[in-house]
Symmetry: C2
Subunit: 424 residues, 2 copies
C-alpha cells in the first residue's frame, strides 16, 4: 500500500479493475451476433467521421507538445492527423466490419463410439492488451480488430499521442455504445504511468494476450517483462536466395522489389544470397547499387562490383530497415539453407528458381513463418495474404505465425454433447 497517496489506485489495482470490466464486457460481446458486431463497428466509424473537428483539435495539442519537446520530424509526421488520415482510419474500421467473423466456426467435429459428439469451435481469446507508440491510428485499428473477433481490449498508447488517442477512443466508444456494445469492451488506460505497462505485462489471468505495436525496443521490453502471453513481432531478417536456375529478369525484378520498394518494412529483404552458378549476378547487384542501395558483401560478392563494401560478421544478423543489404555468394542450395538456418529471424525467406525440385526442398526445409518461391518478400502482409487487416506479423512459433488477422485473435473450446454417458 502506498501510504503517501492513499487515494490513488496502485497500477496493479487499476489494471485489475480495467481487466475485470473488460472481462465482463467481453462476456456480453461473445454473445453478440456477427451482424451486431459489424453494425457496431460501422457506427464507430461514423462517429469518428463526425468527430473530425474535436479529433483534429486534440491532435493539434499533441503536435504542439511534441514540437515543444523537440520530437523529430518523422515522429511528428507519425503523430499528425488530417482530414484524409481520419477518413482513412474510419474507412479501415469499415473494412474490418466487412470481414468475416471467425467466432463460432467449427474447426473439428467428431462422434465417439459411445455416442458423445465433440466439436471444437472458435471463440474470442478474451481480454487483449495493446501497448503501442505514437501512431494514433493504432487506437482505432487494434480496437476494431479485437472487437470484430469478440475480444475486449485495453489500449495503452504512447504519451505523445495522448489527446489524439482520447478523442479517437471517445468517438469510437460513442458509436459502439449506440449499437449496444458495452463501453468497457474498448478501454483506454487512463494514465500514462510507466508502472501501468508493467502491471499489464504481469496481469496473468486478467489479460489473456498482449500485442506490442511499435519499434524493436518496445517489443523487446514487452517480451522480456511479460508474464502474459505476447504476440510479438520482432526482427525481419529476410533472405532471398537466387538459385543458379533462376530466370535472370525475374531475379533482378524480385531483388529490386524485395529490397527497395519500401526499405522500412519487416518484409524487406536484408540479405541476398547469390548462387555461384547464377549467371546474372553482376547485373543484379548493379541494379541495386544504381538505385542507391549500399551493398555489404563477402569476399566473393565483392568481386562482382567494386562498389560493394566488406560485410562484418554482424551484418549477417542485422535488420537494416534501410537502403542497405548484405550479400553473399553461396555454392548451391545446401549452403543457402545453412546460411538461412544460421542467420534468419524466421520471418520470411524466399528463393528464386526455375527448378521445381529445388523450390520444394526450400519450402520444406526453411523453418520460417513464411517461405516464398519466386515472389518478393514484401508480400509478407495480412492484406496481401487476403486476411484483411492484420494486428501484426508474429515471429513466435506458437499460436499464430506470420500475418495475424482476426483468426489469430481467437482460440477455441471443445463442446461435448452427450445423452447421459458416464465413463467406464
Amino acid at each position: 500500500m502506498n501510504m503517501e497517496s492513499p487515494v490513488a489506485e496502485s497500477p496493479e489495482v487499476l489494471v485489475e479493475r480495467l481487466a475485470q470490466a473488460g472481462r465482463s464486457a467481453q462476456r456480453a460481446l461473445a454473445l453478440m451476433s456477427d451482424v451486431q458486431k459489424a453494425k457496431a463497428l460501422k457506427a464507430a466509424a461514423a462517429a469518428l467521421r463526425d468527430d473530425e473537428p474535436s479529433i483534429l483539435a486534440a491532435n493539434a495539442k499533441d503536435l504542439a507538445a511534441g514540437e515543444a519537446k523537440g520530437l523529430s520530424g518523422a515522429m511528428l509526421d507519425r503523430l499528425k492527423l488530417d482530414s484524409q488520415r481520419i477518413a482513412a482510419i474510419a474507412d479501415a474500421i469499415d473494412q474490418v466490419a466487412g470481414l468475416a467473423d471467425p467466432v463460432g466456426e467449427v474447426i473439428d467435429r467428431r462422434e465417439r463410439p459411445n455416442g458423445l459428439v465433440l466439436s471444437r469451435v472458435r471463440i474470442p481469446i478474451g481480454v487483449i492488451g495493446i501497448i503501442y507508440e505514437s501512431r494514433p491510428n493504432v487506437t482505432a485499428d487494434a480496437a476494431a480488430l479485437c472487437l470484430r473477433s469478440g475480444n475486449a481490449v485495453l489500449l495503452r498508447g504512447g504519451s505523445e499521442a495522448l489527446h489524439s488517442n482520447r478523442a479517437i477512443h471517445a468517438a469510437m466508444v460513442r458509436g459502439l455504445e449506440s449499437a449496444g456494445v458495452p463501453s468497457a469492451a474498448v478501454q483506454l488506460v487512463p494514465t500514462q504511468s510507466r508502472e501501468v505497462v508493467g502491471a499489464m505485462l504481469t496481469a496473468a489471468g486478467l489479460i489473456d494476450m498482449i500485442v506490442p505495436r511499435g519499434g524493436k525496443s518496445l517489443v523487446a521490453r514487452v517480451q522480456a517483462d511479460a508474464r502474459v502471453p505476447v504476440l510479438a513481432h520482432l526482427d525481419g531478417i529476410c533472405h532471398t536466395y537466387v538459385h543458379g536456375s533462376a530466370d535472370p529478369d525475374m531475379a533482378r525484378a524480385i531483388a529490386r522489389n524485395a529490397k527497395m520498394r519500401r526499405t522500412g518494412i519487416c518484409g524487406a529483404m536484408e540479405t541476398l544470397l547469390l548462387d555461384a552458378k547464377f549467371p546474372a549476378s553482376v547485373a543484379l547487384v548493379r541494379d541495386l547499387l544504381d538505385t542507391g542501395c549500399e551493398l555489404r558483401g563477402d569476399a566473393r560478392s565483392r568481386a562482382l562490383d567494386a562498389r560493394i563494401v566488406p560485410a562484418s560478421e554482424e551484418d549477417w544478423d542485422t535488420e537494416y530497415l534501410d537502403a542497405i543489404l548484405s550479400v553473399a555468394v553461396v555454392d548451391g542450395l545446401d549452403a543457402a539453407l545453412e546460411h538461412i538456418a544460421t542467420h534468419s529471424s524466421h520471418h520470411t525467406d524466399a528463393i528464386v528458381t526455375s527448378d521445381d525440385a529445388v523450390a520444394e526442398r526450400f519450402l520444406a526445409e526453411v523453418d520460417s513463418a513464411i517461405v516464398m518461391v519466386n515472389a518478393s518478400s514484401q508480400f509478407a502482409d495480412g492484406g496481401e495474404f487476403g486476411l484483411g487487416a492484420e494486428i501484426g506479423i508474429a515471429t513466435g512459433r506458437l499460436h499464430a505465425r506470420g500475418p495475424v488477422a482476426l483468426e489469430g485473435l481467437t482460440t477455441y473450446k471443445w463442446l461435448v454433447r452427450g445423452t447421459g454417458q458416464t465413463r467406464p
Copy 2:
C-alpha cells in the same frame, strides 16, 4: 564464469549445447516421412522390451534409494516398474507409432488475384522441454509423442527416477538410432542440478515450448519462472450443474461418475450446482454421501441432508482431488453461469438438462476449455476424445486448449508459391 570449477559447464551452456544438438536433430527429423517415424518408434518399443532386465535393475536402484530416503508408499508405487508396466510402456509407444502424423497437413490454401498460391501447413514446433517428476513412464510417453510429431525433446525427470529414466532412455535411443533417427532427437538432461531446470525455463529461442508434467507445485513453479512458452496443465475445478429439467436417473449417474469414478484426476467434478427446481436433489446427494464422499455445502444444500457439512468460501475455489465435493443450490441457469464464471478454473464444466435451449446457452456461455452437456466430466481426456495419447490437458487460452495430443505439438508455416510477382 565459474572460477571454482573451470571444467564444469554452466547450466546455461549445457542447455544451449543440448538444445542446439536437439535443433539439428530436429531438422533431420522434420524431413523424415510418416512411415520412417512410425518405424523408428516401433524399434524403440522393441528395444524397451529387450532391455527389460536392465531397466528393472536400474529401477531397483531407484527404489532402494527411495526407500532409504523415506519416500512414501504412494511415491514408491509411482516409481516402481515391473514386467507388466514395462510392457505397458512399450505398448503405449507402439500406439503412438500408429497415430496419424499431423505434420504436412495443409490447414488452409488460398490463391490470390495476382496468382500467388498460399498454403498453411503443419510443421513440428521444434525443440520441446519436458520437466517431470517421479513417474518413469513419462520418459517414454513424452518422447514418443514429441518424436511422432517431428519434434526433438529434452527430458528432465525427477532425481528419484534417475536410473530408471536413463535405462528407458538408452533403450529408446538404441531403437531410434537403428531406424535412422539421430540420438539427439531424444536427450535426457545428464544432470539433476536444479539450476538446469532454471536454465531450460529461460532458454527462449533455444527451447520452443516447455511441458511440465507433475503436481501443482511443479507446474506453478515452471509457469512462474518460464520465459519460454509453457503448455501448462493447472487446476481442474470442474463443475456439474444439474438443471431443473434434468432426468433424475441421468443426473444421479453422471454426478456419481463425475465425482467418484476416480477422484484424483483433473476431470473429476469438484463442485456440484443443484438447481432449486431439480426434484431429485435429496436422492442425488444421498448417493454421493453413501459412497463415502464428503459433501461441503451452502446453507440451502445442507437442508437436503444432515450429513452435509458447511462449506467455507475457500471451498468454491478448491480442487480436492479426493472424495470431497462442494455443493450449492442455485436458482436457474443464470445463477449457475455466474457461479461457474466466478469459480471455474476453465478446465471442464458440465450441465445435465433435458432442455435443448438451456444446453445450447450453457455451451455458448461457459468459457472453459471443455464444456459438456449430459456427460460425465471424467471424459475430459485425450484418449476419450479420440485424439490418441495426450501430452497433457492445457488450461491456458492460447495455442492449444483441453486435451493436447499430436496436433498440439505442431505449429504451422505459410508457403507462398509465385511466378515472379513483385509488390506494387
